[in-house]
Symmetry: C3
Subunit: 139 residues, 3 copies
């Protein structure tokens, strides 16, 4: 369901670091937002040095943009962004002051995965059960 898009300049993150950050963001999102890891996507945009600016100068931030479904309880969303930001610094070694994490959202009914409209927050269980049934029927 969610998509986390991480943007950096090239060569800032090793392949291992990307895998580790993807795993950690997946673990955190899965735990806090009650979504199996199989539905958590993490992608990396690694751009040339002359394509990333902070303060109008070439820079090396780590920008993470997460898309989630609208309607999670506010405390849950606050915990999510806090844990993702902490993980980003912990896993990559990049100082927190160069890391920006932003969560955006849109209503679940404006998203489709596996051919089905996503469930609203809190309604994941029935949706996942139905998906499992469809998977078996497809076997």
């Amino acid at each position: 369901m969610p998509v986390y898009t991480c943007t950096t300049v090239q060569s800032m993150l090793s392949a291992d670091t990307k895998a580790d950050l993807a795993a950690e963001v997946t673990r955190i999102h899965s735990m806090i937002n009650h979504v199996p890891g199989a539905y958590v996507n993490v992608v990396f945009h690694e751009l040339p040095a002359d394509a990333v600016y902070t303060d109008g100068q070439p820079a090396q931030p780590l920008l993470i943009n997460g898309w989630v479904r609208t309607g999670h309880p506010e405390a849950q969303s606050s915990q999510l962004v806090a844990e993702v930001a902490a993980a980003a610094s912990r896993v990559t070694g990049i100082p927190a002051k160069r890391i920006l994490v932003v969560i955006q959202n849109s209503p679940a009914h404006l998203a489709i995965e596996g051919g089905r409209v996503l469930p609203a927050p809190g309604e994941e269980e029935a949706w996942l059960r139905e998906t499992a049934v469809q998977g078996q029927e497809a076997d």
Copy 2:
């Protein structure tokens, strides 16, 4: 007006498939949201294999994020996301379970194209007429 951003790993979509998907998304958006195709943008981010993760593992999803103006009728938005998701699987041959389509929006007055603030949904005709007039004056 809209921008559809498709994210995959490299070599997953041929040049022909990208062109076909762009054409089909354009046709669908144009028909449902009443916008001439000339205002529909589709872009592809094709990332290295070690830059795309699902469930914390390298994976090959097709992630489509569409930005549209806020305020389309809900039924119209539901039809839009459903038809884009169906087209994505039909055109690319990628199974629906690896495809996630998300629609995001912001108010038309927070977007400018051709130097003019975008029209709210339902007000496209007057806006397009005015654009045509300006184009003739510019000739």
Copy 3:
């Protein structure tokens, strides 16, 4: 705080033009939204010619997506998008009709930078003062 993401085809913008556009967008955002330039990020996605479509055909638009915090006064947001769009054409020489600028937003409490939740619009001063204090303590 904000992130402006500019998408074009490769070789459309020189390195100098990218730097100039980043500087100008930073200056505009800083002035209108009361954020020091050190918190303004501008990134460029330069895609292959067969990865960017308008009207279902390969095309060369300049697409700018800005993420800002929710809650800026509407007049301020309108000025922001207008000045960014004007700067994009002025700095790059690309005709306005090929330029689309979109502003998206989410609540400040859904974003973290430097390890701290972002301030709501209008509360930047206290937040920045606190950041300065933390910076001194870290020295």
